[in-house]
């Protein structure tokens, strides 16, 4: 319990630090502060998908409902975080590029991540038999994962992007020490939230399993 309350206070401090302690980036001003939330959100979105994919692989190796459940709720969590990352990204885009959406490669990447999650749930809803549903959606989760590395690494190289590179400063966003501190602190904090949700879900699942057993 203690670490959860500490996490709460920790995120509160990071939030304050993001607005007060870290200076605004040159050229972008106070708006640059959104990266302390936008990037961690996107990071958790990708991380959740990765965990979902790994659990799908485990399911195919050993068909255990546990793994299927983990794959599903990670996809759910990932979908929420990805949508939030897209929204925060669009706000940032509106103020720097003038439009909410312009099919920048980075936007396209996160959009595809959202599409995969959406397609994953559509697929699940259209298979009624439990075992088939778990197996086929696991296959899809792994198969669709191919396009993630392709998009994240290859496409931005083929096209010029306006998206600021998060850490290595090449396109306008120079990060100084204070900013980096807050940035990594935020990443850590959001990963903590993810871990918390993860443990809650697992406990909830175990309760429901035992409930059925009784």
């Amino acid at each position: 319990m203690l670490w959860k309350i500490m996490l709460g206070i920790y995120i509160l401090i990071v939030t304050v630090a993001a607005f007060v302690y870290a200076p605004g980036a040159a050229g972008l001003g106070d708006l640059s502060r959104i990266i302390y939330f936008h990037v961690p959100l996107a990071w958790v979105g990708v991380l959740a998908y990765l965990v979902s994919m790994l659990n799908s692989i485990r399911y195919l190796k050993k068909p255990d409902r546990d793994f299927d459940f983990r794959a599903v709720f990670n996809a759910e969590v990932g979908l929420v975080f990805t949508i939030l990352a897209t929204v925060t990204g669009a706000i940032f885009a509106r103020h720097t590029w003038g439009v909410y959406w312009n099919w920048d490669p980075r936007q396209t990447s996160i959009f595809i991540l959202m599409l995969i999650y959406a397609a994953y749930f559509v697929l699940r809803s259209s298979i009624s038999e439990e075992e088939n549903r778990a197996r086929l959606s696991a296959v899809y989760c792994i198969f669709a994962f191919i396009s993630v590395p392709l998009l994240v690494f290859i496409i931005p190289r083929l096209y010029t992007t306006l998206h600021p590179d998060p850490i290595i400063s090449s396109s306008g966003l120079e990060m100084n020490g204070q900013m980096l501190q807050v940035f990594f602190a935020a990443l850590l904090g959001f990963t903590g939230i993810y871990a918390w949700i993860y443990s809650l879900q697992i406990r909830l699942y175990k309760i429901s399993q035992r409930w059925e057993g009784q």
Binding site: L60, T108, I112, L115, I116, A118, A119, V122, L123, S126, I127, S128, N132, R135, L136, A138, V139, Y140, I142, F143, A144, I146, S147, L150, L151, I154, I155, L158, Y159
Partner: protein, 219 residues
């Protein structure tokens, strides 16, 4: 190898006698082409628009026909006998080859009709043809395993495009970009990067499909 040929022969014979996939593919492609041609009229389209339109037509007509071969095995309950008679990898290769043949035929026809109806200015025809053919292989490669997944689910008609789009989007970004340069008359050396990407995309996607197919192909 003989098993593979038997599978392809069986699918082709069946297809020639019913002409279900061929008809739906072709009709869909023709309708889409005529609509595009009507809508744009004689207005000269830019190369990027031509490239996008061509691939949109190819994508949706592919989606309307690709799913059939698996769906049919499932509907007619012929899948269990196949499961017993051949290992999943052979089945996958058979279906992949059949889909590729179908897709190549479709691509050639769509390309000819596209040039005929919309009269785009083509800078580098050999490159364009190569891109369309290579792209068809990629389309068939990605949609074969997805078609197998879809054949076991409900609402099959809409599911295949929904599942394929995320997987195919990186491929589309590259191929549309390259097709545009082909319309504009770029040389092969300029397109080498894209061609390499397409080949490696096809290889990766088929390899992963082969690894995963055994899990799809069971009841």
């Amino acid at each position: 190898m003989r098993r593979l040929l038997a599978l392809i022969k069986k699918d082709l014979t069946d297809e020639f006698r019913t002409r279900y996939a061929i008809n739906s593919l072709l009709l869909f492609a023709v309708i889409a082409l005529v609509m595009v041609s009507f809508a744009t009229g004689m207005a000269g389209l830019s190369a990027s628009l031509h490239a996008a339109l061509l691939w949109i037509i190819l994508f949706f007509s592919a989606m309307s026909g690709m799913g059939r071969s698996f769906a049919k095995e499932q509907e007619k309950n012929t899948a269990p006998a196949l499961r017993l008679a051949a290992p999943p990898e052979i089945i996958f290769w058979g279906k992949l080859c059949f889909n590729t043949i179908l897709m190549l035929a479709l691509a050639v026809l769509v390309l000819l009709m596209y040039i005929f109806l919309l009269n785009p200015s083509i800078g580098n025809l050999p490159l364009l043809v190569l891109l369309v053919l290579l792209g068809s292989v990629c389309l068939a490669g990605a949609s074969t395993i997805l078609a197998a997944i879809v054949s076991m689910a409900a609402n099959q008609g809409t599911l295949l495009p929904i599942l394929s789009l995320p997987v195919l989007l990186p491929f589309f970004l590259v191929v549309i970009n390259a097709t545009q340069t082909a319309f504009q008359g770029a040389g092969f050396s300029q397109a080498a990067g894209s061609l390499l990407f397409l080949v490696s995309y096809a290889v990766v996607i088929i390899t992963v499909s082969l690894l995963l197919f055994r899990h799809v192909w069971q009841d």
